[in-house]
Amino acid sequence: MSRPDELPGATTPARRLPVTPGALRSLRTRIRPTAGAFPLAKPTWPGTVPRPPVQRTLGTEYDTGWARRYPVRLARVLVQEFVARPAVRAIADPQVSGLDRIAHLEGPVIFAANHASHLDAPLLLSVIPERWRHHLFVAGAADYFFDTRPKAATFAFLLNAVPIERRRVSRDSLRRLTTLLGEGWSMLIFPEGGRTPDGWGQPHSAGAAWLAVRTGRPVVPVHVEGTRRILARGSSKLTPGTTRVTFGRPLAAGTGGDARVLAATVERAVAALADEQTTDWWTAARRAAARTTPALTGPQAPAWRRTWALGERRRRTARAGGRRDGGRWPKASDGRSPRRG
């Protein structure tokens, strides 16, 4: 019989777990050495002693050379072809367009895409034509993908990722990437430097353009749409859906060109591809010619209005593509499947 002051459904003291949060805290305190308890804990460094330069082996200093050796490349091809591509197709259902624009290209290429999700890189690796796909490295944020040894090894193996700074790319990184491009490797880079925080794009950094100018290799603008709905930033839940990948016309700067001009051109080209996604090729082309292509970065407005505008754009995209978000089955073919692109 319950006591009168007891709420219905309340746990009686006798039925509570013997391990309370307080007891756990106290146990943790007893087990864990107190802060600064050298020698159980690491010694502190005297403030009067200058620290020696640390030989960094992570971040931009991580050596990814091993991931481009033949046995590793073979293993990666197997993983990409028999695990990653089927998985991406099942989860993201990529609809690819614009491959005809790069069909004539030979040699190393710099693919520069917008970035909305962790899914972008695997998605692009599954749709980039085969002649580049297995001889391509991904420029990955050094501070994110290369901050621990297991992470660095995983991404170096799976994506052939190479570390690069997000914003101000160092000379060492550029030299490393230039060397790889010179050795015949193509590159996939996200010039925004990170995934979009709110769905809108971010200004491009000039790293890709600088490399294009330095190596004389063309930049292929790529627009990816739909990956944020499948795996948004900060989310660990995969929601299968449809994605659209549009390859643009390659942009050549030629050696001696201006990297900043090329970077702006690439940014406008990606925005035009996004416009092409939401409207049609002709509308987008006219707006691009008139320099009235809606910016990828969205309106300069308070957060709610940016989100609101994003919803409006998404509706337009759905109308243009004729698909419902997330709806994949029964699958309606629109003639833009990767097999035919």
Binding site: F38, P39, L40, K42, P43, T44, W45, P46, G47, T48, V49
Partner: protein, 529 residues
């Protein structure tokens, strides 16, 4: 490239500092903002081929000496004297420097057809070495070739038939050394120079001398006028030995001096943390520290002592010089300074010295209370050049368990010195005046010194005199963690912890005193400006 010595200014983020405490060690936190820790230079690179270096040194001597082979001839009397168990510390791994050098000398002697060769361990007034200790020093090949035939001797400073009086210096100092050495055609002296005090004319003038000769420089007056023993130019101990050495040379004794230096690689790899800077300790170092300290805390002192005494240092030879005594010693001293010198700015109010388990006089033995004073206030206090690390009237804090314990075979006269002499007075001058002669001429001590493995009857007096300079200079000495009864007998103050000792020191040096902590071992020499 080994790093030079280093003076750490202690701040709030400085980790606790390793402090030796006999057969163990502790981590002690020092007051921030007014303490400094002095770290020894890292071990110098050893010689690539020490045996070849020894041969080269014998063939290219320094000073006005001819190469060794030219000094050797058939039917000559050759005596090879060598340093005893007190060097190096801890004993080095085999092969010992003495073995390398003696074998090279004997190779040349054999090639020259020399038959009359005698080896003498230059004991001075130290205890006789055991067979195992001799084998470790000179190697089995040399021991087996000479000892069974009575040709491997240990110097006897009390043998009336084995000593010869060579005369008196201009200061009236008697020079009496081993007769065999003095009457040889060539005396080769093989040194291991651990500190700047070792070697030079002191090798023969002290190592092969008698009490009658030694008393002229092993006395309170000499110690008070040596600032310090490690600085040859300002050491009365050296001046006296140099006078005697020159008289020995003038008497016709031909000395071919061979001096070797070692790097300060003191501990085996698993105990390497003992000579590392604490903030550079790796996880392995910390684990080794914890395992060692926890293990030692449950180990009986006797067992702990044998564990520590079994440590053989990975010392490696860094130089070898041979030839004329003074030229050789100059080159050697330079190498020692290179390995041990740390430049230090100014004196402090307090010096903290963690004393290890070992001093030159308790190898394979017990570090009794008298040796604690000798090690702390004698040797380590004097590890300076220029000025003492502690200011005049300052405080020296020693850390050592200081047990009321003596090795009855090695240190019989120490027991009586401690029980009888120190119970009466701790004043070195008073002790010297009242008691020295009686102990030095005691027949029982003399017998034990000559036939057993006992230090000479006068030896504890000398150990006490080593500290005379410190007693004269400082205001107070405190021993942390020592047995209070024994510490009080020494005339020092016992403290249960370093914090207590620092608190006690404020009575002498005032509030907020400045502190220096010598991170020993390895041995270092503070060059105080």
């Amino acid at each position: 490239m080994p790093r030079p010595g280093f003076v750490l200014e202690v701040d709030r983020s400085t980790p606790p500092v390793l402090t030796w405490h006999g057969e163990g060690f502790r981590l002690e936190r020092l007051p921030a903002g007014r303490s400094r820790v002095i770290y020894a230079p890292e071990p110098l690179e050893p010689l690539d081929d020490p045996d070849q270096a020894v041969r080269d040194a014998l063939l290219s001597p320094l000073g006005d000496s001819a190469p060794l082979p030219e000094l050797l001839f058939p039917r000559m009397r050759l005596t090879i004297a060598f340093d005893d168990i007190s060097l190096p510390l801890p004993p080095m791994r085999r092969p010992d420097n003495r073995q390398r050098v003696i074998e090279a000398v004997l190779d040349m002697a054999a090639a020259a057809g020399v038959d009359d060769v005698v080896l003498i361990c230059a004991l001075a007034l130290h205890r006789r070495m055991t067979e195992a200790e001799l084998r470790h020093a000179v190697g089995d090949r040399v021991y087996d070739a000479f000892a069974p035939h009575g040709l491997l001797l240990q110097h006897d400073a009390e043998d009336p038939d084995g000593l010869v009086h060579l005369g008196k210096t201009d200061q009236g100092e008697d020079v009496e050394i081993s007769k065999r050495a003095a009457e040889s055609d060539l005396l080769v002296y093989v040194n291991i120079n651990l500190v700047a005090m070792d070697g030079g004319h002191k090798s023969v003038a002290t190592g092969l001398a008698s009490y009658r000769s030694l008393r002229h420089h092993h006395n309170v007056r000499t110690m008070l006028h040596s600032r310090s023993f490690m600085d040859q130019e300002r050491s009365e101990l050296h001046s006296s030995n140099w006078r005697m050495g020159r008289l020995i040379a003038a008497s016709g004794v031909r000395v071919f001096q061979i001096e070797t230096t070692l790097n300060n690689d003191t501990f085996p790899e698993q105990m390497a943390f003992l000579q590392k800077r604490e903030w550079e300790w790796t996880a392995r170092d910390r684990a080794m520290y914890l395992a060692t300290t926890k293990g030692l805390s449950v180990t009986p002192p006797r067992v702990a002592r044998s564990i520590f005494q079994s440590i053989k240092a990975p010392h490696a030879m860094t130089s070898v010089h041979a030839g004329e005594v003074e030229a050789v010693h100059r080159a050697t001293t330079e190498m020692i300074y290179r390995q041990q010198m740390v430049h230090v700015e100014g004196q402090t109010d307090i010096v903290i010295l963690g004393l290890p388990h070992l001093s030159p006089y308790n190898v394979n033995s017990i570090m009794n209370p008298v040796l604690v004073v000798c090690m702390g206030l004698g040797y380590l206090f004097n590890m300076y050049r220029g000025k003492p690390l502690v200011r005049a009237g300052g405080v020296v804090i020693l850390s050592h368990p200081t047990p009321w314990a003596f090795h009855p075979v090695h240190h019989p006269s120490y027991i009586d010195f401690f029980e009888e002499v120190l119970a009466d007075t701790t004043d070195p001058l008073q002790i010297e005046k009242t008691y020295e002669q009686r102990f030095a001429t005691d027949e029982w001590y003399r017998h034990l010194y000559r036939t057993s493995h006992a230090y000479h009857g006068v030896h504890p007096f000398y150990m006490w005199y080593w500290a005379a300079h410190a007693f004269d200079h400082i205001g107070r000495a405190i021993i942390v963690g020592g047995e209070p009864r024994a510490v009080r007998r020494l005339g020092l103050s016992p403290a249960s912890s370093l914090d207590d000792a620092l608190e006690m020191a404020t009575d002498t040096v005032g509030r907020e005193p400045t502190i220096s902590h010598l991170h020993l071992p390895p041995i270092m020499l503070a060059d105080v400006h």
